[in-house]
């Protein structure tokens, strides 16, 4: 073993590419080694690299397991336990089960990292350019590039991950598959289970109560799918584990209805002035209503859909904190949903807000006076900062309005009582010469000439220079970070970085300088770059001399 890792599972008699070997499942990776080749490991994959696993269909002679990697490669293992088919199956299933548990953990990690990196690159074009210059052109590896970005990344990452919503059709997506012999198979994934728990807290509760002491995980879900609860359209016969859930749901539903809709615009019951008239007996009964028996199966289905949608909606909402609610109201939504924030308030509406809504309902935006021109949408990376203003870096830096007031008072006073200190004033001739020197063309303003460089150099060259600076700065940052060199790893890196710098000089700087020359532009543009590289070079040589002297 090259690294000491916990071996979670070891299965022998596993063939890979027709070679007999042993499969190891370890903390972070999966490995297979051929029996004959001794020490050397044949295959090793980090879990993070594995996209999914596939197993050979039941009834096939060969019991196999296939790993699909993110790269698209596959890797087959053939379970070949000499004790026969059942044992092979058992081996395979053991591996499968364990992988099933392990993979999602790493998967989310990988995905998150990748997503994060992707996001960073997309959001920051400069970084993307740098990435192209350094990584794509092979100057440094992607890993090196990102290790240094780690801190910035961390600080950029939004606090608290965003919750994934629940798909409305998640129950329907659990498609039962018939296995050909009067059985039905449901495929459950961790996501689906999470969705079920999120949407139906009653099931979660039952799960917590019964698993694992009363039932096994598998048994629980089997019962769930068999239950009346899942197939709400079937007629309920007898009690099962979930009859309580159904009752609770019913109660919930009742409560929601009892709570009543506070919004008088939506409350159908108080919409009409029918308290007197539509009383029992007055008026014609409408032909459509009344007749059907109250709790037919169809109505149960309809109520279930309503409840389901309600719960899905709730599941997504619960997680949001009230502050975020406000935030989403204030900043979210652009364009034509101008009255959106008004509608979404399901809270009790007191008269003032009711009045506001009435006003809103009757106003014609296009008839009224020209409203404020719509500003470009505000896109914020850190909404917190926007809402709270710049945070105080140093305590006490801030001045209260009182201080400011006092200060202005003071200034006013001083100005009011100002008297020129005539003896110390410069003579006018001297003042004139100083002004002349400070005006354009004067001795002190010669640096100003360089501004014309901007016009002198074409835009594409400027851009190139810009990216060169960025790339070099990045490389130098890597380089200087190695000092003081304390570990062998750093030592190695310093040497590598110097190599990289050299390569940079030859592959990037040289062509650029050539280009400048060919366009008859002053090459001193790159002087500063060269100087920086030389500095690094010098540092390296002193360091290597020192090191050479030490051992």
């Amino acid at each position: 073993m090259s690294r000491s890792e916990d071996v979670l599972l070891m299965v022998s008699h596993v063939r890979h590419k027709k070679v007999e070997g042993t499969l190891f499942l370890m903390g972070e990776r999966l490995a297979w080694s051929a029996n004959s080749a001794g020490e050397r490991l044949g295959v090793s994959h980090n879990y993070a690299d594995i996209r999914s696993q596939k197993i050979s269909p039941e009834g096939k002679a060969k019991i196999q397991l296939q790993l699909v990697l993110h790269t698209g490669d596959t890797c087959n293992f053939h379970f070949n336990n000499p004790e026969g088919n059942p044992e092979q199956l058992k081996d395979r299933d053991a591996v499968k089960e364990l992988l099933q548990q392990l993979l999602p953990r790493f998967k989310s990690q990988v995905n998150k990292e990748l997503e994060e990196k992707n996001r960073l690159l997309q959001e920051d074009p400069q970084l993307f350019q740098l990435y192209k210059d350094l990584v794509v052109s092979g100057v440094i590896t992607a890993e090196e590039f990102w290790t240094n970005r780690a801190q910035t990344k961390q600080s950029n990452a939004p606090k608290g991950s965003q919750d994934i919503g629940v798909s409305a059709s998640f129950l329907a997506d659990i498609r039962p598959q018939s296995d050909g012999c009067n059985g039905i198979k449901y495929n459950l994934t961790a996501d689906i289970i999470a969705s079920i728990f999120k949407t139906y807290p009653a099931v979660k509760k039952t799960h917590a109560e019964n698993v694992p002491h009363n039932l096994s995980e598998k048994e629980f879900w089997t019962r769930f799918f068999q239950s009346h609860y899942f197939h709400r359209d079937r007629i309920n016969h007898g009690k099962d584990l979930f009859s309580d859930c159904a009752k609770n749901d019913e109660k919930d539903l009742h409560k929601i209805i009892q709570d009543k809709v506070k919004d008088s615009f939506l409350d159908l019951e108080s919409l009409d002035e029918t308290s007197l008239v539509k009383d029992e007996g007055y008026g014609n009964k409408s032909a459509d209503t009344s007749t059907a028996p109250k709790h037919s199966v169809n109505q149960a289905i309809i109520r279930r859909f309503n409840y389901h949608s309600t719960m899905v909606l709730e599941a997504c909402r619960n997680k949001r904190s009230p502050e975020e609610d406000i935030l989403s109201l204030g900043l979210g939504g652009s364009g034509d949903n101008s009255n959106s924030s008004v509608w979404s308030q399901s809270l009790a509406l007191g008269p003032p807000s009711k009045k506001a809504r009435l006003r809103d309902a009757i106003s014609y935006e296009d008839l009224g006076e020209s409203t404020a021109t719509s500003a470009p949408p505000l896109s914020l990376t850190g909404a917190d900062r926007y809402l709270q203003g710049p945070s105080a870096i140093q305590q006490g830096e801030y001045t209260t309005s009182q201080d400011i007031h006092r200060a202005t008072q003071q200034v006013k006073q001083e100005i009011g009582g100002y008297q020129a200190d005539l003896p110390n004033v410069l003579p006018s001739s001297l003042a004139a010469s100083v002004t002349a020197e400070l005006s354009p063309g004067g001795v002190l303003m010669q640096a100003g000439m360089q501004q014309s460089l901007k016009e002198l150099i074409p835009k594409d060259l400027q851009d190139e220079l810009h990216s060169l600076y960025a790339a070099l700065a990045e490389l130098l940052r890597h380089f200087w970070q190695c000092f003081p060199v304390t570990t062998p790893a750093l030592e190695e890196k310093v040497v590598r970085m110097r190599e990289t710098l050299r390569r940079f000089q030859t592959t990037k700087m040289q062509p650029f300088q050539d280009k400048l020359r060919s366009q008859h532009l002053p090459t001193n543009l790159t002087d500063h770059l060269t100087e920086m590289i030389n500095n690094a070079e010098r540092k390296f040589s002193t360091w290597s001399k020192k090191r050479g002297g030490r051992p």
Partner: protein, 763 residues
């Protein structure tokens, strides 16, 4: 802006105006000048209310002799509140322009439930309970008892109002429901009675249809309104049904059983009173002998429902002798009740006229027509005499007495239908007696006769000539306005076939067809994939929706819908539906998008708007014909044919199309709004259906869009929605569908307005 409408200076509270608003005001002005009734159709979301209010307020102010009051009737409570807010806005504008607030009072009247501020009564959940509780505390005998015994609870707010409130009038201003409550709290007056009193002197009254159309309530509330008022029925597309409902009665077995207990309770009370306080009964009797129609002068608080017949039908003579004494009257009611019970013990359907019913009544139990006509008033008098506080308990008996009065008063335009069971559940015995009004004009006739101008207006009144027919009045003016649009913001289309070319229809014979149900489902799935935010879909009836949803569930269509959007479904319980609606809006707000399955003629289709993203598409699954097997409907159709020469099919189609238009109109609430309207039934393409859609929808329904397949429909919607989602600025509209004052005054525009007005007149 200040506009000159035909010589009348109208202050319009906005800087811009839609051309159709201008035309609308011109037409309205014409009708008011002619002192006649009119029918005006203008698409929803084009500012109908504000145009109406601006013009009529200007009229009120300039010629108060011609028009002294505006009575604005709307349908729902939120609607009423909206009107008041528009009015308030207008008044603010007046104040800004003229420097002083206009000397007008505008107020809303609603039921006790919405106005009560009594801590106990207002906490009750149902309107009926609030009414009952109020009656218990404010009835005149309760109050006189309170004088003797201060422990008897009365309502302090009413006491205060009764003592002081009538002397001082409300200061000028606009009083919405909440404002009334605030004033009530501040002064300690009862807002409900204050409002009821205030409508006699207010300039603008906004309340529900029923306060004018239902004789039981109108008699109490709207008795003293001046003749030269303008009455506006907004959202009036359903007005005939309101009229009919207000005159109809339905009695079932359970109701009769409760009547039985009422009668028994009444007998006991009379007996007790006889033993203890015979004086009172004798007093009532002698008063009735003296020829007073009612034994006591009814105070406003004593009666909850007045005589159910129209004022001109109420007999102005003394109560006949055989029901004058309390005992005799209770016996009379008992006999009537027994008779009805025996009639409901039937095995087959009976349909008869009121005349034959009365004849049978006379033969079987010897009850005359005349005393029957007094039943309702006699019962009210008795209840007062007996000092029964809890009126809610006696509602079945009051209903019975109302029925007796109605059936003996009206010989024409009504029918009696007794059904032993519902046709769809023939095994369950559920006898019902329907006393049904077939003629909408009966209830509204006094309104037309009494007030000088009645304006019937809505977004969907097509075809216009139907309303004067069924309401039996002669309008001086009828006009339908289209919507001028700078961009085609509605996209109506008729989807007649599924992708498999199978015809889509909700025709009764084929609606259970699996292929049709599946095609409907696929249409919904496909639309849900391309339409952002909210989609509303309407079915023709609850039962059809239930069976279709169940079929979709089995076919796996629901799953596919759920993949795209959350699904909410209207149920027959209003409370459940309210919750579903709220969640639907929430889902649209937070970006998930949702679908609401609803029913035409249901509560949602009548009262809820889905503006902007709450409804980007509406799908109409089938033509919402009324349940044609209903005997009440059949009787009405027959009546309409005989009396008004309206063919059955014409009326059915008219009724179906106005509901369809109502449903699809829910999604478009203004010119900045936009939405797809899918009519998913082949039959919509036929000219008799298509021609009955409102003009503003017809205009945008080109021939090429009349028989699309699902795929084509999805493509069209996709393109439409993409186009519509582009920013829409005022400049795009200006001069076309939005005018400034200068633009309005140009000759060309004036000509155009005249032209549209003229066209409208021709229709």
């Amino acid at each position: 802006m200040k506009i000159n409408i035909d010589g009348l200076l109208v202050l319009f509270p906005y800087d811009y105006i839609y051309p159709e608003q201008y035309s609308y005001m011109v037409e309205l002005k014409r009708s008011l000048d002619a002192k006649g009734h009119c029918v005006l159709e203008m698409p929803s979301g084009t500012g109908k209310t504000v145009s109406l209010l601006s013009l009529i307020v200007a009229y009120l102010k300039t010629s108060p002799k011609d028009v002294c009051k505006l009575i604005y009737c709307s349908r729902t409570v939120p609607e009423i509140e909206k009107v008041l807010e528009e009015l308030r806005k207008l008044m603010e504008y007046y104040e800004k322009e003229t420097g002083e607030p206009p000397n007008l009072i505008g107020l809303a009247l609603s039921s006790r439930k919405n106005l009560c501020i009594h801590p106990e009564a207002s906490a009750l959940q149902f309107g009926k309970e609030v009414d009952g509780r109020c009656h218990q505390m404010t009835a005149s005998f309760v109050r006189s008892r309170h004088e003797r015994d201060p422990d008897v609870p009365v309502c302090d707010f009413y006491e205060r109002f009764d003592a002081l409130g009538r002397e001082t009038l409300l200061p000028p201003g606009i009083y919405n429901l909440d404002d009334m409550k605030d004033v009530g709290r501040e002064k300690g007056y009862c807002p409900y009675f204050m409002a009821r009193y205030a409508i006699t002197y207010a300039n603008i009254v906004v309340y529900s249809y029923h306060y004018l159309l239902d004789p039981k309530i109108a008699d109490l509330v709207s008795k003293e309104l001046a003749k030269n008022s303008v009455v506006v029925f907004d959202e009036a597309h359903n007005i005939d049904n309101v009229c009919i409902d207000s005159m109809s009665v339905t009695i079932n077995r359970r109701m009769l059983d409760r009547c039985q207990t009422n009668v028994e309770a009444l007998t006991r009370t009379v007996q007790r009173l006889k033993d203890t306080d015979q004086q009172r009964l004798r007093q009532e009797y002698s008063r009735l002998v003296e020829g007073l129609r009612e034994a006591n002068v009814a105070r406003e608080t004593d009666v909850v429902l007045s005589n159910p017949v129209l004022p001109d039908e109420v007999l102005q003579e003394a109560v006949p002798g055989n029901i004058r004494t309390a005992e005799h009257f209770v016996g009379f009611m008992k006999r009537f009740l027994e008779y009805l019970k025996s009639r409901l013990r039937i095995q087959h359907v009976v349909q008869e006229t009121p005349a034959s019913f009365l004849k049978d009544l006379k033969e079987k139990v010897c009850l005359d027509r005349k005393p029957l006509r007094f039943c309702s008033e006699r019962l009210n008098s008795l209840i007062r005499t007996l000092e029964i506080a809890d009126l809610t308990d006696f509602s079945p008996l009051i209903l019975l007495a109302n029925f007796a009065t109605l059936v003996s008063t009206y010989m024409k335009g009504f029918t009696l239908i007794m059904e032993p069971f519902d046709d769809r559940t023939p095994t369950i015995s559920n006898p019902i007696l329907n006393f049904s009004c077939m003629d909408a004009s009966i209830a509204i006739k006094p309104v037309f006769d009494r007030f000088q101008s009645v304006v019937i207006t809505s977004g969907t009144l097509s075809p216009l000539d139907m309303y004067p027919k069924i309401l039996d009045f002669r309008p001086v003016n009828m006009a339908s306005f289209t919507m001028t649009l700078a961009r085609p913001c509605i996209c109506p289309m008729i989807v007649g076939r599924g992708n498999d070319q199978v015809t889509m229809t909700s025709k009764f014979e084929s609606r259970e067809d699996v292929a049709i149900i599946r095609n409907y489902g696929n249409l919904l799935v496909d639309m849900s994939a391309v339409v952002p935010d909210g989609i509303v879909a309407f079915f023709t009836s609850y039962s059809y929706m239930e069976s279709t949803v169940a079929a979709w569930y089995e076919q796996g269509i629901i799953e596919n819908v759920q993949r795209n959007k959350l699904l909410f479904i209207e149920t027959q319980s209003a409370a459940e539906t309210s919750v579903a609606l709220q969640k639907y809006q929430e889902a649209c707000e937070n970006g998930r998008g949702a679908i609401l399955l609803s029913v035409a003629r249901g509560k949602v289709s009548e009262g809820i708007d889905f503006e902007h993203h709450l409804g980007r598409a509406v799908v109409m699954f089938g033509i919402p014909y009324v349940y044609t097997q209903s005997r009440i409907l059949k009787a009405r159709l027959e009546y309409l044919r005989d009396q008004f020469q309206i063919r059955e099919n014409d009326f059915l189609t008219f009724d179906a199309m106005r509901h369809a238009a109502q449903c699809v109109g829910r999604v478009l609430r203004g010119k900045t709004d936009y939405g797809v309207m899918v009519f998913a039934d082949k039959r919509f393409a036929r000219s008799d259906k298509r021609g009955k859609l409102p003009k503003w929808i017809q205009e945008y329904l080109s021939d090429g869009m009349c028989n699309l397949t699902t795929d084509e429909a999805v493509q069209v919607s996709k393109k439409f929605l993409r186009q519509m989602a582009q920013p829409f600025r005022r400049e795009d509209q200006l001069g076309l569908s939005l005018l400034t004052l200068e633009q309005l005054q140009t000759e060309e525009m004036k000509k155009r307005a005249q032209q549209t007005a003229h066209q409208a007149f021709m229709t």
